[in-house]
Amino acid sequence: MTTKVVTIASGKGGVGKTTAVANLAVALAQDGRKVVCIDGDIGLRNLDVVMGLENRIVYDLVDVVEGRCRLRQAMIRDKRLPELFLIPAAQTRDKNAVSPSDMVRLCDELRQECDWIIIDSPAGIERGFRNTIAPADKVIIITNPEVSAVRDADRVIGLLEADGKTDQGLIINRVNQAMVKRGDMLSVDDVLDLLAIELLGIVPEDENVIVGSNRGTPIVLDGKSKASQAFMNISQRLQGHKVPFIDLEEQTGLWNKLTKFARGGE
């Protein structure tokens, strides 16, 4: 297959870019693909922490760009999946250490080596954002069902359109169906209505995500929770398979529990 470079961006911070990168990379690698993820958040790196590879960093992205090491030396192999690699960001530098053309060159070199390149974009729409967008074949915009996050996503989509990056997909992260039902949260339809781009996935709010991030174990690795199922579905859709969207309805009523029990549990 031809290598695909996918950048995950959001505009607003804290909506789940890094978590999504880690989980999608793991899900693709579990499907037997060779995946390299790149942390584009120079100066504020944390993809290494979320993936649990922090203590293995020797060289980073800026070292590669400035020629202090070969590309291979900066690729950290995941401890669980041998086909998954991370190129970490430098922590002691800033976004100006890398240019958009550096990123294009780096990804062109990586294209010979792997099936997927997943890039974590920093928050904001400045230099760091442009660095990570430059090499992308596809950009995934991730947002929360919150007015401010959706507003920023809309701005990012506009900037991408102006830059001719038209292959876009949307992930709506941290959807709390109970709040949506009470009318306290934007629904998936509300968000889609405004942003009007292709929906790639809906990820329900899930405490396990935070636990996983803190432990350096992306939740897709255990694969049980609804959020991890959602990320696996997104990885399937990225690979061109049609997967129905998961049912977000909370099955908490007594009747639901009984029927589930009768069906033999979850």
Partner: protein
Amino acid sequence: MADSNLIQIKGLRDGLLVTLGEGGWSVLHSSLLLQIDEKTEFFKGAKLALDVGNQELHVSEMTDLRDELSDREIILWAVLSNSPTTENTAQMLGLATRLSKVRPDTPVQVKPVSSEDSAMWVKRTVRSGVRLEYEGNVVVLGDVNPGAEVVAGGSVVVWGRLRGVVHAGATGDADAVVCALDLSPTQLRIAAEIATTPERRSQPVPEMARLKDGHLIAEPWQPG
């Protein structure tokens, strides 16, 4: 070596107008920076309007230039171009695309926009951060999202949901109107009057807003 035919510099009332000649962007771009670096004192603190002619510039090129100019303490406030792509990019970045705007000391002339005047035709979703500005009428086929601004000398028609800020009759024309299939702007202005959208109770219907006896009113659109 900077070729002086490529770049022409003219003083304006409140800044500099730099006109670029024909040529590849990378050549023009670097000779512009070269000229500036040769005359640092002259350019320092200047407000720069850049006429790029037919150049097609995308966001990355324009933001790069803006950053490089701001490193040299020059403010890029306008990009003029014949290319719709470039104008689009400039609007996307919140830069002016016309010079006439910045003249606060000239008396405002109320010039009604006649219905025969041409309109700006926008067939896409106007997203957050984009500012559309036109001296005539503006027609948008698509939504105007929250965070976007449409400013027209004449009237504004949105065949879609209008949820951003809209200003019709921006040069004082009190006969301007705003029509939308779903008229729910963050803020609606006609001439000097400002209103916000009341909390909507029912399904949206096509509406038209106009000035009546100095007050902004919105009424459901009656065909015929």
